[in-house]
Symmetry: D2
Subunit: 245 residues, 4 copies
């Protein structure tokens, strides 16, 4: 096997970017996002700091786009590259509106990314995760990012919640099927506001650490990644100390 690589789908200013930086200290990383603005600076930073990163513009819910992305990864790292980690951090648009005002497209937004997109990503990465198992220091990891809406479906949240519940189901089914094949599948329930530039003004009165640290999430994902296969966690939840649950 020529190389072990980590691929992160859904890179941006929050979790995806922090995870990319964290995993870049151990592996070459591939960053997928629809909009290259979401990874360009990060790719530059990682490469500039002595790591190795490439970004690929990808529509994760489109089979052709996903196929093209993984073809490109193959050209870059050789046909026999393996995956040490695959992180699915993409999310459909967060739509909150009265159910009867949802258009069909708005409703499908959640399931397109968290259902179909996660399926495409899992099918593209699992063969390389399985094949990497005998060569990887840590069990190869497939991590899915969930949210409060993965376990609670609130009023007016039908689009986001149906996608996130479907994603959690996918994660659980894959954990059971691929655990015995040496792949560590896990799911993280991110329950709170993540501290990124866009949320700078939110929750200010609650104090400087009332928002979830993206680097803290990345550390948690790294800790999942380094668990031995005798001792695997399927699911963690993450929230700031002030969260009301």
């Amino acid at each position: 096997m020529s190389k072990l690589v980590a691929v992160i789908a859904g890179v941006g200013p929050g979790t995806g970017g922090a995870v990319a930086r964290k995993f870049a200290s151990a592996y070459p990383v591939v960053l997928l996002a629809r909009n290259p603005d979401n990874y360009n600076d990060l790719v530059k930073d990682i490469n500039g700091a002595g790591g190795k990163a490439i970004g690929i513009s990808t529509d994760i819910a489109d089979a052709g786009s996903v196929r093209a992305a993984f073809d490109k990864i193959g050209s870059e790292f050789g046909g026999d590259y393996g995956l040490a980690a695959a992180i699915f951090n993409a999310s459909g648009r967060f739509v909150r509106k009265p159910f009867l005002e949802l258009s069909e497209d708005e409703f499908n937004a959640g399931l397109d990314v968290s259902g179909k997109g996660a399926f495409l990503f899992a099918q593209a990465t699992l063969p390389r995760l399985v094949s990497a198992a005998p060569h990887s220091k840590h069990p190869p990891s497939l991590v899915f990012t969930g949210a409060t809406a993965s376990v609670k479906a609130n009023a007016q949240m039908a689009s986001f919640a149906t996608g996130k519940w479907a994603l959690r189901a996918l994660s659980q089914s894959l954990a059971k099927e691929f655990g015995p094949q040496g792949v560590h599948v896990s799911h993280a329930i991110i329950d709170g506001v993540i501290d990124i530039p866009r949320t700078k003004e939110w929750l200010k009165e609650a104090g400087p650490d009332a928002k979830i640290s993206a680097d803290g999430i990345a550390d948690a994902y790294w800790n999942l990644h380094t668990q031995p296969r005798s001792t695997l966690t399927w699911e963690i939840d993450i929230r700031p100390f002030v969260e009301k649950w």
Copy 2:
């Protein structure tokens, strides 16, 4: 309001048919299924026994087909008909195979019916359920049929389970949004084999009532329907006494 009607999507030899017969004793019933063979005899039986039933061939995952079906209901019962009950009993194909052998279409089968189909059905019925609330003896009911796979995502069950988890999320979100509007939204986890001709030879050694009675499910749905709005159940599970859980 001219009339209170019950509509059942996903009618066949099991739950859907039994629910149709049960609710036909109180309301005219509309039976939706893709294949008219699934409702023709039932329609005849109900009408022959002094009830009122119509069947409409419908692809529940297709917006145009669902719209056409509800147009037809309007022509039949008058533009101001209300819905006393809407039962979503449709299910995608039950596909069980290794994840890496699933085609995109096979995976989507679950989400198409249980995600998109349930969305279309809920959007088509909720306005008529809400408007019926002041006129209906019992809180108008929207019931979704789930399965073991609604709460457990087993290996090789990614298609079915993602659909069923999404359906449960939809049901919970709608229960919270439409409860205060007087509509009773509920979800039933059918956890076992239903006793229908196709399963005649299954579980024989476990005895004559080791399979779930479709009429028993219909009774349970009727009991949900007749709860007063002060005392609503969102979720029930149903299994035979021999089920291993």
Copy 3:
């Protein structure tokens, strides 16, 4: 078998009393409560209306008191009486206070009733439920009353929640063990305020049916009781339409 009887532990102005009245229309009922004031009028009413009821002052968390109560039931109905239904509706004191201010006795209040008390009640009733199975029209029923706190453990609710979670565990374990023996064990999550004299002034602004109807709960328990053994529900939740979940 001389007689099928129903026994209800935890009788008072709410659920217990309503359940007693409901089941008294089918069976002689035995009402257990520590304080006879909680059942005296009800016993009189039921007997006066042509039913059959006896009340027995019982400390459900005390083995000797429970034994004495069931000895008395035996003297009343004959040594070979069977139980068609046993309803455990007792609850420890609802204590809400900062955890560090809880005395050991206050903390234990929840587990004494919902843990030890439920154990004693289940051990006293299950042999009579099992033996009644072949003779009872409906599968003999053992129903446990839970609360919101059965599935959510809120801050400052350690005593009540630990008891209620333990009770739910007991119910699930017994459902699995005694279902195959023909006994229907179930658990009800009562999620809201019950409409009784003490809560008359509560939630008034939310309207006349913003509180759960005790009679509605009793109907739900009766519906559980009449399920055939092919079609058993382990758990239901019950809340008013205005509940915020």
Copy 4:
């Protein structure tokens, strides 16, 4: 504050001992077990390796014994010591037998340790965890060890499961109350067989890492301990890759 200490209740050859060794690299550790044989060698090892450990024979379900233990900790570390971590790893006897054969004492075994014992431990440690918050590098941690039986109550497991469900409720209630006070409360579902001398011959055919590593659990607890208060996990599950769930 003179000193930050870690205290572990329920020390033996598995999780408790591994956690003690792990935390001993950062803090003086206090090891509680009823039988000193369970900590004597470990205390010697840790002290011999340059760490600091004391063992105290304690019956965790007895208020007087717990009080005496914490008095002793105070004498040892000074009246103003703080707790960086408190790990509750005690468990009642694992009793598996038909429900009707359980004695009252056997049933209570689970609730005595996991209910009352956990209450006593939490009340004894929380004031020292809260007071340590401003002085501790990591948010002071209170970790509870659960099991498969914390989320599933199997047949014939009423004693163990009621205790473990109660413990999980306590953990959730405390997480909500003490998170805002800067204490990190968490719960671990250990779902599988732990690799200790007593289980040496178990699961051998499944391979050398088919049992959970106690050191792996200790690493997971340490990872929980080092989470920043912006990014706290309440619950993790842990199982070997071959576990059937």
